[in-house]
């Protein structure tokens, strides 16, 4: 009898979980459709997108530069530790450039922005939801999608890939300087190694990843924040969920895109 009860409980649990997933999938699809529906109201979203782009771009620039700089530096130091005496030094140029452009630049920038921008969007929208500001906007016959959500998502989609490119450049330059200091590699060797392994597709791959990560950093937190319930506690829960969901999605996209784009390009 206890085994039957446990089995029924498990079925109930799985059923409830499946219903929740299905409900989220439906709501998320409607959310995306509503974002597209708001596109014709460009007079509303264009100025707000510029405002959000400034906030995201300038507000995140410093932390992105710091993170990318450290990532490039650490990659150079580790390359020095692994390569000394075994491989020609110019390979370090290729390893650092490729590591930064293909992986560290986009992923670290994405993860740091998931915490910085994703948390902000979820908290802002969640607070607006629980204080009825979103209801107030709707009651005035205005769309929260064109006023609040589309500007945030579009600003992220424009600015985050740009920040990733800045991060790539910073990581590469700091990595170069660190490699010179730690490995004693010459500029000519470093540049030779970097160019030897570099393919123009690498930059495209980095940009494509950045675009997917930007979608994860903006759309998911906006969706979670927009659907916040239950007061201050709900806002806290939404903020945490948004950061976790955006970060996990970034790592999932990272693996998926590597499989889809890098495997055929070998």
């Amino acid at each position: 009898m206890p085994a039957l009860t446990a089995a029924l409980d498990l079925r109930r649990y799985v059923g409830r979980w499946a219903l929740r997933v299905a409900a989220h999938a439906g709501r998320f699809t409607m959310f995306i459709a509503d974002l597209f529906r708001a596109l014709p109201e460009w007079r509303v979203w264009v100025p707000r997108t510029i405002e959000q782009a400034n906030l995201i771009g300038f507000g995140s620039l410093f932390i992105v530069l710091v993170i990318a700089g450290f990532a490039g530096g650490v990659t150079a130091l580790q390359a020095g530790y692994q390569f000394t005496g075994n491989l020609p030094l110019y390979i370090a140029g290729g390893v650092i450039a490729e590591s930064v452009v293909l992986e560290l630049g986009p992923v670290l920038t994405g993860l740091i922005l998931a915490g910085r921008i994703g948390a902000r969007f979820a908290a802002e929208l969640g607070t607006m939801r629980v204080t009825e500001q979103i209801d107030a906007l709707e009651s005035l016959g205005r769309s929260p999608f064109s006023h609040l959500l589309l500007p945030r998502c579009l600003a992220g989609l424009i600015v985050i890939p740009t920040l990733v490119m800045v991060a790539n450049a910073t990581g590469f330059l700091v990595g170069w300087m660190a490699a010179k200091n730690s490995l004693g590699i010459t500029n000519a060797d470093f540049v030779y190694g970097a160019r030897y392994f570099f393919r123009s597709f690498d930059l495209w791959y980095s940009a494509i990843k950045a675009l997917f990560f930007a979608a994860a950093v903006t759309v998911i937190p906006c969706y979670i924040g927009y659907n916040t319930q239950q007061g201050a506690e709900g806002v806290g829960r939404s903020t945490t969920e948004a950061v976790v969901a955006a970060s996990v999605t970034i790592l999932m996209f990272d693996m998926l895109l590597a499989q889809l784009l890098l495997s055929p390009a070998k």
Partner: protein, 258 residues
């Protein structure tokens, strides 16, 4: 006219509205009384389409709210001013910008000179100084925030005004100020109003008719006199504590005859 026909709404196992019928005639002020958590705000939000009923029809100005397209619903909402319980002002915008958002006619909203003038006019109507337009919601007191919420609701010259507990959380003096304001706006603008409240004194002061929402149903509807004369146990129970004060208040302010 606002008409609710057989409206029902439940949240999981909690039945909030059960087959509610409710009519507000043009130009009338209806106060909707009831204990906290009984579903008054749900009813008000279903009028403007923010909450969809599980059953029944909400008809505003001849339109079935549930059957309107997004654009039609937005158009209908532009004829309705909604005053939220805590003001629901946009934190990141100044008072002036908040009120300007209430100007729902796009051509008028794009005209900066008109908007500045209208913002001043709305602030005057709610007894606030023009310089308040420059302030941010965080710089205002609770009573001022509610008045700005009312100013935003009337900025678009609505045909209907819905008030969600406009006096809740205010001291008696400020509550009186808001009640006077609701009364004066009704006289000056001649709009059709629904005021959700559990403030019996305020309801008797401003309303042409009063309805009592009790255990998910409309238990009684009538003029203040009819409500006072009601022998319904729920009505008497609800009014009992505040009745004496309501009569005193009504006599002292020479408001609606109670």
């Amino acid at each position: 006219m606002i008409e609710l026909k057989g409206v029902s709404k439940r949240f999981v196992d909690n039945v909030v509205l059960d087959n509610v019928d409710f009519t507000v005639q043009d130009g009338e002020t209806m106060a909707l009384l009831g204990p906290s958590g009984v579903g008054k705000s749900v009813l008000l939000k279903s009028i403007i389409g923010l909450i969809k009923p599980d059953a029944g029809e909400v008809i505003v100005d001849g339109h079935n709210v549930a059957r309107l397209s997004r654009r039609e619903l937005a158009q209908l909402r532009s004829t309705i001013g909604y005053v939220f319980q805590n003001g629901a002002l946009f934190d990141s915008s100044s008072v002036g910008e908040n009120i300007r958002l209430g100007i729902t006619d796009e051509a008028q909203n794009a005209d900066t000179a008109y908007c500045l003038e209208r913002v001043k006019e709305c602030l005057r109507l709610v007894n606030l100084q023009p310089d308040v337009a420059e302030k941010f919601p965080a710089e205002l007191s609770g009573g001022m925030r509610k008045r700005v919420g009312i100013a935003r609701a009337i900025a678009g010259k609505p045909k209907y005004l819905l008030y969600d507990e406009p006096t809740s959380g205010l001291d008696p003096v400020n509550a009186d100020v808001i009640d006077s304001l609701v009364e004066r706006l009704q006289q000056e603008l001649g709009v059709t109003s629904v005021e959700v409240t559990h403030d019996v004194r305020g309801a008797f002061r401003v309303a042409d008719r009063i309805a009592l929402l009790w255990q998910a149903k409309i238990r009684a509807v009538g003029t203040p006199d009819e409500i006072l004369a009601s022998r319904d146990a729920a009505v008497q129970q609800f009014l009992e504590r505040d009745l004496e004060m309501a009569v005193i208040q009504s006599e002292s302010t020479d408001g609606p005859h109670v």
